[in-house]
Point group: C2
Chain length 200, copies 2
Amino acid sequence: MNSDKAATSPRRDRTNDHLKSALTKLIKEKGFHAVTVKDIVDYAAYNRSTFYAHYQDKFELAEDLLTSMLHGLEIAVGQPYVTGQKVYTEKLNVPSFNIVAYIYEHRDFFELIKYGDTLPGLLAEFPQTILKIYREQFTFETINNIPVNMDYFKRYTAYGFYGLVLNWIRQDFKESKEAFIHEVIDLTKTHMYSFKYVGK
Amino acid sequence: MNSDKAATSPRRDRTNDHLKSALTKLIKEKGFHAVTVKDIVDYAAYNRSTFYAHYQDKFELAEDLLTSMLHGLEIAVGQPYVTGQKVYTEKLNVPSFNIVAYIYEHRDFFELIKYGDTLPGLLAEFPQTILKIYREQFTFETINNIPVNMDYFKRYTAYGFYGLVLNWIRQDFKESKEAFIHEVIDLTKTHMYSFKYVGK
DNA sequence: AGCGAATTGTCTACGGGATAGACACTCCGC
DNA sequence: GCGGAGTGTCTATCCCGTAGACAATTCGCT
C-alpha cells in the first residue's frame, strides 16, 4: 500500500507553493488570461516539465490556489475560541478576531480581488466562504434575543463583513489592521449580543 | 574540468533565493541575532541538511543576501543609458531613473534598513555601494562647468541621494515611486548639468 | 488566408539535490 | 548541574526536478 506515489510531501508542497506565488504575482502583472505556463515556470525558476508533473494546466493551479487559501481561512477563524464557550461581543478585542489577521497576512493573495482579469472564482467564492464559516462554525445571539430568521441573519452579517473587507483591501489596507478590527467590532455590537464557536 | 560539482545551477540558485527570502522575513519578525538555522529551514520548508549543503551558517547566508542585492543594484543602474552618451539633467525623466525602481521592486529587502537588529553590514554597505556606482559608472558635469573636486562631488551627491532614499523607505514608501523620482530629479538639476554613463 | 513563432501537453532517461536520521557538541534557562 | 534546543557534520537513499524531443495547437503578423 506504500507503493503509491505520495500525493504530498514537503518537497511537492513547497514547489506547489512557489508555483502558486508565481501565479499570484503574474496575475497582477498581466491578468490571468495572459499568464502562460511558461511565464509561471520562468518566474518561479522551475522547468516546464515540473509544472506538468504537478498540475494539468494553469486552471488546475488556479483552482488549487483558490481552494487552499479559502480553506486556510476556514481553519484560521476558530483558533482564538474555545468550542462551545459563549463570547460576548461587548468584550470582543483584537486578538480574538484573527480572521482579519489571516486576510492581512495573506494580503498578497487577497489583493487579487482588486484586479479585473483575476483568479477565476475568487469574487464568487470568497464571500461564499465567509458565509460558510458563519453557518458551520458559529451560532449567534441577537441583542435582547430579538427573534430572527437565523439563516438570513448569518447571510446578512456575513456579507456585511465581506463588504467591509472588500473596501479595506481596495483601499490598500490604508486603515491599520487594528483600526479595521475595531470598526468591525463596533458594528458587530450593534446587532449581536454573543456568539459561540461550535467547531471546525 | 567538468567533473567539478557545479557551484551554481537553476535548482541551487532557486533554493538559495528561498533561503534568502526566509531570512529577510525572519529578521523583520525577531531580529537577526534571534534567527536560527532551524527557523530558516522551517519557514522555507527545507531540511536542515539542505541548509548546510548551501551555506556554512546563517552569517554566510546573510553575506550572500547582502552582496547579491547590492550587486543587483549596481547592475540595474546603468540599464537605461547608452555608454558614453551625455545625458542632460534638464531632460531627465522617470524611466531613465531605474535605480529607484530597483529599490522599490526589492523593497522587501531594502526595508531591512528600518530594523534595529538587522542584516549585518547593510547600513554600512548600502550607501557605499551607491557611492561606488557614482564613482565607477558615471561622470558628472557641474552647472556652468563650475570646477570642483570631483571625488568630493560624487561623495556629496551619492550620500545626498542616499539620504533621500533612506527617508523614503523609512516612511514606508508613502510617496509614490514617480513622485519620489521627480523630487530626486529636481534636486539633481540644482547642481548638475549633465552626466555620462561610462560602463558597467 | 497563411506563414512562422510561441505555447502546449506528453514522454523519456538521467542525476543532482533534498531527505531522514544519527552523532557529539555547545549554549542557556531553570 | 540538569534538560532542552540549536549547531555542525556525516551518511545512505531516492525522489523530484532536469533537459530534450515531439506533434499539435494557438498566436501574432502581414
